[in-house]
Subunit: 130 residues, 2 copies
DNA sequence: ATATTTTTTAGAATTATTCTAAATTTTTCA
DNA sequence: TGAAAAATTTAGAATAATTCTAAAAAATAT
């Protein structure tokens, strides 16, 4: 575990946002002004492979990095804002896994779920434009 | 609806695979030897925007295009093979929407679900390697 | 403490995708 | 129908995200 790697992990674990590689790079520059962008990519890949962080792929193809505390994402189809959604409180995740294990006969290790909605701000704007 | 557009739509609707833009381009060359890669990208974007096809973003960041008949995807975490999973037979999709509408208080328009498993072939190989 | 291995750095290279401007095709409607 | 307008296609240049390379630095093992 190098300085670079631990700072990158810390940045992701301390952020409430869903950072892109570029954004992680910019934040890491504040702590390590000499860090290379390639190092950020290396470590994001390594941390994703080891399961310490999670990569989420947005519908527009952009990659964001996230903590591993299990949760789902809800994306506004208009402005693309990402909101975290707990997948725990209601045990939905266990239900989903069970339903799909039954349907497929496979052992479901995990899943990624991205929900789509129109956020409050965009809904307001849409009403105005009618 | 141009020749190019309709051929691209046909390729995606007649394929059982999950084609990348490049793969769609190669298939379309068989029918239209002069088609430009940019035309393929233009039309994939247009068809996605109009809802005639669907773009799926794999965990490794690669984009694949798919028919719009609603279904989910199961990806092998070892070889990344994609398998279609019906989301209809068991009404799971309605249940998922309802559960998350209750949890978030939002109107859920839709969702993308990617399930992870280890496929039969990879499971066999893993056993051998122990 | 020295050798070996791993990681970092900086910049070049690659890949996927988008942009641009001219040519072509399609659509509009007089 | 046929000219004008609008939209699409083409080819290639441009861009952006990511990976690769080779040397330097840091970490780890002996």
């Amino acid at each position: 575990m190098t300085k670079q790697k631990s700072i990158i992990l810390e940045i992701i674990n301390n952020s409430c946002e869903h950072l892109t590689a570029e954004a992680v790079y910019e934040k890491s520059l504040e702590k390590l002004p000499k860090i290379a962008l390639a190092t950020v990519y290396n470590n994001l890949n390594a941390l994703t492979a080891s399961g310490d962080i999670k990569r989420i792929n947005m519908p527009d193809g952009s990659a964001h990095y996230d903590k591993t505390i299990p949760h789902d994402h809800m994306v506004c189809t208009v402005c693309h804002k990402i909101t975290d959604v707990s997948s725990y409180g209601n045990y939905t995740d266990k239900k989903i896994k069970k339903a799909y294990e039954k349907a497929t006969g496979e052992n479901i290790i995990g899943y990624d779920l991205i929900l789509y909605h129109v956020c409050g701000d965009c809904a307001k704007k849409q009403i105005k434009n009618i």
